[in-house]
Symmetry: C3
Subunit: 269 residues, 3 copies
């Protein structure tokens, strides 16, 4: 039985049904490792992927997409230019967009790019604790990344970051945390084998963009996407907790997960 | 029982056996989303993939490959240059090549590139109805894409396009249509879950290149490849119609589909 | 029952346990076809993948990675620059690195790049017979690639190449051969379906980098990685020898293969 407050539960169920009934078009500028799995995850959950990630096309497309994901995992030069086209175009069109600042911190190309994108105000930032800590380095006022990447430090950083971007920050971990800088929502579904599949987190970023396209507020979108994805992971892990079979089962589960599964299994607080 | 005319049935069976016995080398310049799945589909059906997609190598390789696929899904700059090397080199060597004009129409980089490639005379163009309509914009003489992308409009466009390119045009849909501008062949195998797997259509383009390598005429090649691929999809969907499992089963089925399966299941008219 | 000498068997088992207990960070600069499968194979066996493959980051990252793979399968311009950053940085840091010279020989971009990288002294070179023969073209003193790519010719070339690089050379085939120029080790596990999965060989190169990170000598690392990978392939092929299912089962088997499986099944001589 779910321990989730009724309003969050209903909002998650409504968002899932809205994704399936409207099939939002999600533009992904994402890394080469996960791009196929991400497209398949979007299709499975009911959205429509479009990996338009080259300059001169990315900005135009962001104006017509329902949602945009920018993931910096293998950000070659053309993708960097595409990202810097797509984010302002999404803003201009009122299109929600998600930033996934993969592995930023010390790496000298993606880190300043992530800061530029952060300053463009992503609707949702999604990352693990150390990425969120790195992205929260807000000029001289920021807290040092010499903080340990503990849950507490990441929570503080995510709240600061959300206030600066004016959006929502989602921190992945054994407990997933989503905040708009004021409210803090914790989700505890999911299974450790998810960390043994490449793109487990990256695909969630794309699914957040799909949910943001059908949900008025980004907090609900990030919570609903996380809940649907991790409940699907729970269902998949019951079929197999071995990484190859699990990845296949996860795509199956994303296509099958029902509002009743959410009601029975979602743990959101 | 198949309702397919005996000559098309026999030609499809012969082409499948020829692919398996000669393992044609298929060069793919294709998008990052589907490149792995495409290579696996080619291997499964019995062909040999080679993703040689960088300038200075793509042209040389097209001269020795058995068939070439050019797919514009994520056509970054080096791939665009590689495509413009490979197509003339394939022509010069008499190598069949397939053009898949993914998502052309409004996008300003891939659309003019697709027109240039169209004018180089691809052996086969493969796309969905709206892509074929966009590619058929033949200068001032073309029919407008303000036509609705109905089956009828796409059929007319595909016939016009085939006459202009001197090749074959294959339009994917619930009914697949293949034409050389005069003959029109319709195929009705396949399953809706194929649209829930990224690269479902893109991989078929690569398989068409493999079949074109072993079949004297491009019409037969496109029909045979479509029939083998969609009959394999039927077999796979009987194992699972969930997207993750189906994609795995499709690769299995491509390696197992037999001339008897074709005889029993192919619906070509 | 294994016919493997006790010292090689123990070293392989120790290396497997060390990979799982220390989870070495493996940087991969690899081709777009196999990049997802490679990351999943590394995760499955217990390592941590990081596909940092852009200039200005690749060299820095090679200094902190536990091992590095450079695979030339689709070496676009940025990857070529990244490879030429990463190899010297790995050398400077004492980090083992693996070179996989995919499809070199006649192709004019990757072949000279492979020679440059060869001259930087990779810890392990991994390839098939014809790639090893091509890479062994050691200036005027080299044996011509007009030699047939027979096992004997490849063995001679691999020994010459190992002496020139000061490292280890691993030649994939029905029998896998690993040599440091003096010792020659032959491994005969594995299953033909492995050649029907794209990235079957490429992923092994990445796993060699993981094993090299936890093993003092490169010969043991290459032997242990090959043995673990091909024993896992044997286990997977028992579940399915169809290519789609086999690829999934291989990832599962990489996560499950035990030191007892190695003891029972490894055939190393």
């Amino acid at each position: 039985m779910s321990r989730t407050p009724p309003n969050l539960l209903t909002a998650t169920q409504d968002a899932l049904e809205a994704v399936r009934s409207t099939s939002p078009l999600v533009q992904c500028i994402t890394n080469s490792v996960v791009v196929g799995f991400t497209a398949n995850a979007l299709l499975a959950v009911g959205a429509a992927p479009a990996m338009v990630d080259i300059p001169e096309e990315a900005g135009m497309f962001a104006g017509v997409a329902s949602g945009v994901l920018i993931n910096l995992g293998t950000c070659r030069e053309e993708q960097r230019a595409a990202a810097l086209e797509a984010a302002p175009a999404a803003n201009a069109a009122g299109t929600p967009w998600v930033l996934d600042p993969v592995a930023i911190g010390a790496l000298p190309v993606r880190t300043p790019l992530a800061y530029r994108l952060r300053d463009l105000g992503p609707s949702i930032v999604r990352g693990n604790a150390s990425e969120i800590l790195a992205l929260a380095e807000l000029g001289t006022g920021g807290r040092g990344v010499d903080s340990t990447s503990s849950v507490d430090a990441a929570l503080t950083a995510s709240q600061m970051l959300a206030r600066v971007t004016g959006g929502v920050v989602a921190v992945s971990g054994a407990t997933d945390v989503v905040t708009d800088g004021v409210s803090v929502v914790r989700l505890t579904n999911g299974h450790p084998v998810l960390t043994k599949v490449t793109g487990g987190g990256c695909a969630l970023g794309a699914i957040m963009a799909a949910f943001a396209a059908v949900t008025p507020d980004a907090l609900t979108a990030a919570v609903a996407a996380t809940s649907v994805y991790t409940v699907a992971a729970d269902l998949a892990a019951e079929r197999s907790a071995l990484p190859g079979s699990f990845a296949v089962a996860l795509l199956d589960a994303l296509s099958e997960v029902s509002v009743d599964d959410i009601a029975e299994r979602a743990v959101i607080a």
